[in-house]
Amino acid sequence: MGAQVAGSATKGRQGLSESQLGRALVTPAVLVMCAVVFFPILATFWLSLHEYNLKYPYLGQPFVGLRNYIELLSDSRFLNSVKITTLFTVSSVAVELVLGMAIALLLNRTFKGRGIVRTAVLVPWALTTVVMARMWAWIFNSEYGVFNAILHRFGIIDQYIPWVADTNFALWAAVGADIWKTTPFMALLLLAGLQIIPRELYEASMVDGAGGWKRFWSITVPILKPTILVSLLFRTLDAARVFDLLFVLTGGGPGFATESLSIYTYRSLFVNLDFGYGSALAVATFLYVMLISFIYIKLLGARTER
């Protein structure tokens, strides 16, 4: 499409000015994104202002203003899903950052075998989340799971535990699977950041007699800060939207023990068939995610101004 616009313009012999060309090239993409994202989100918002339950067609589709949002505030299932989403996000991202950083520092010191390491890192990243969730369901299996077998062998547990069926463990099982899938990716991003730190900086501080720990905090962390924040932003947003992993591994259960915002929204829409209330939940999920990005961008912005 863009090529046609640009191509026909060259025939005018004069050629386009830079800014005309720029706008012409960008227009199709902007239109497409409006069509698939901005209009649907407006439609979601519009739906959320209505009573609209496919199960109760006799209620019609009346406009109810903000009623769905007011009901959200006293909906314990909604508050629970906010809690679950936050718990999942904070705990998995925190562990991923610490582990990822350790691994990145480690990898930054090696020279041989980069290719193998890179492939190994990319396997968890590329693996379809649904596939990896079923894989972990088997690993966590309460009867024949290898996770139980290992813990049992080392005497950590004396009885096999139904990890994903137990209210106390299900969320942590999911966090564990998520950490496996995304820590390598985190390490990769941080490693890329580490590699642009000039070696001389370290050498200079070594001469000053700074220890490894001190060098880490005084050189690595400040320089790496933007990379850290950007990787954290990506990971946090991904974790806050979590759907596939929980849907397949635990189904949001037992009870609501692993029901994230996305899963509650999905169930409200396609199990309760409540398109009004479900849309309000969808908007709430959207706002939750946007709030997180806003905080990060503030943090990032504050840094660049300095």
Binding site: K55, L59, G251, P254, G255, F270, V271
Partner: protein
């Protein structure tokens, strides 16, 4: 790209005309049914297709998980998709789907209703119209270890107290007293409803108004909690059990009593899965003194989609599938307890499954879950959480009962405002 599009369109049109032009080609009825391991469904389909030149069944199996089946029907039907003609539905879905306008009322066609049990008909009738024909029955019942009870000189229990007494006497460190499905999901509601009804509780009046008595709610929840925390005949791990887990424990010989569905019996009689062959007895679930036993129905039914293009032919399929003959084949081949009462007196069936006599007693007292389109949401949001909380010992039964009542009312109100 454009050319491919044009060619595809042309081909589609040609195809459409050829199909339309063939006046003689049979009507295809797409029938969606849950998983069937026995082969009985396939046999019935083959029989029907052989006997009908003008109607052919296209048999489609659904995922085995009830939840998956439900969600799939919902997304297909909500899209007004005509790809489903006949569907098998779990009993609590019937009012839900009927209210949504997805099912064809069968009042004029389904005329031999007196052939069926009362409970399933209550569940398939919504606002005085019937929307499904019961296909095969399923209801909760109490399985007990005949050998252990006989040895100790006990009669099978009839009341809650008798169950507790026997379980306490016969349980050992290796053998639990009473096992059931205690995880937070639909199964625990089925188990609990039997206790609630068995104490004389009632949920909705015929108009769908909530009439549950808070005191009975609290008592039934208390009894459930007491099984774990006071009588200690059920281990705390019950909160991680669904059917598969509780059944496995019972079949291993590690429990005296087990609340389960009819299929438990055939598994118990199978030496490759069971250590309790011939040691299992069946009675209806226990009840309070002066009250009656109750059983939660899990009957599967056949309905016709509102979006079918062939209602007449679809009914022919339903009629055939629910006939005495067909239900007998399903019983003989699959061990499915029939929905028609007449099959229970069939000599051939009784000879093969003598225990169907006991099933019959259970089905007489079996009830559908509250008949309202709001039920699935009520169960998930208002009933399951308080049950889970009392089982885990994190909430008193009084507070849980109050919560449950309030929650159910709120969801019912949403359906009526």
């Amino acid at each position: 790209m454009k050319r491919i599009f044009v060619i595809t369109m042309a081909l589609t049109l040609i195809l459409a005309f050829t199909i339309a032009g063939h006046a003689k080609s049979p009507v295809v009825i797409n029938m969606f049914v849950g998983k069937d391991q026995s082969g009985a469904n396939q046999k019935l389909v083959d029989m029907f297709n052989a006997a009908h030149e003008d109607i052919q069944i296209n048999y489609q199996e659904m995922p085995p998980s009830t939840t998956e089946q439900h969600d799939k029907y919902v997304t297909v039907l909500a899209a007004r998709d005509s790809s489903i003609d006949v569907l098998s539905s779990d009993i609590p879905w019937v009012p839900e789907f009927a209210s949504a306008g997805w099912l064809l009322p069968l009042d004029d066609m389904f005329t031999d209703q007196d052939e069926y049990f009362a409970g399933p008909l209550l569940g398939t009738t919504y606002q005085r119209h019937v929307y499904a024909v019961p296909w095969f029955n399923n209801a909760g019942m109490l399985f007990y270890r005949k050998d252990l009870l006989e040895e100790a000189g006990f009669e099978p229990p009839e009341t809650f107290d008798e169950l507790v007494e026997i379980a306490q006497k016969l349980q050992t460190p290796e053998r639990y007293g009473f096992v059931f499905q205690g995880m937070q999901y639909e199964g625990v509601v089925c188990a609990w409803l039997e206790m609630f009804w068995g104490m004389g509780g009632e949920m909705l009046d015929p108009d769908g108004k909530l009439i549950a008595d808070q005191k009975i709610l609290a008592e039934s929840l208390q009894w459930l909690a007491d099984l774990v925390h006071k009588y200690k005949i059920t281990p705390p791990a019950v909160t991680t059990w669904k059917e598969a887990e509780s059944q496995a424990i019972f079949l291993e010989g590690k429990a005296v009593f087990h609340r389960g569905w009819p299929s438990v019996y055939s598994h118990a009689q199978n030496p490759s899965t069971s250590k309790v062959v011939d040691d299992v007895g069946i009675v209806p679930m226990v009840h309070a003194p002066g009250q009656k036993s109750a059983a939660t129905l899990g009957t599967w039914n056949l309905s016709i989609s509102r979006y079918t293009k062939h209602p007449q032919e679809a009914w022919e399929v339903v009629k055939f599938m629910t006939s005495h003959e067909a239900q007998k084949i399903k019983a003989l081949m699959g061990g499915n307890p029939p929905a028609r009462r007449s099959v229970y007196t069939d000599a051939e069936v009784l000879q093969m499954y003598p225990h169907f006599g006991q099933f019959y007693d259970v089905f007489i007292g079996a009830l559908p879950r509250p008949v309202t389109p709001a039920y699935p949401q009520m169960s998930v949001e208002a009933i399951q959480p308080p049950i889970a909380a009392v089982l885990a010992g994190t909430m008193t039964s009084e507070a849980a009962a109050a919560d449950m009542l309030k929650g159910m009312q709120k969801i019912l109100d949403r359906a009526q405002r």
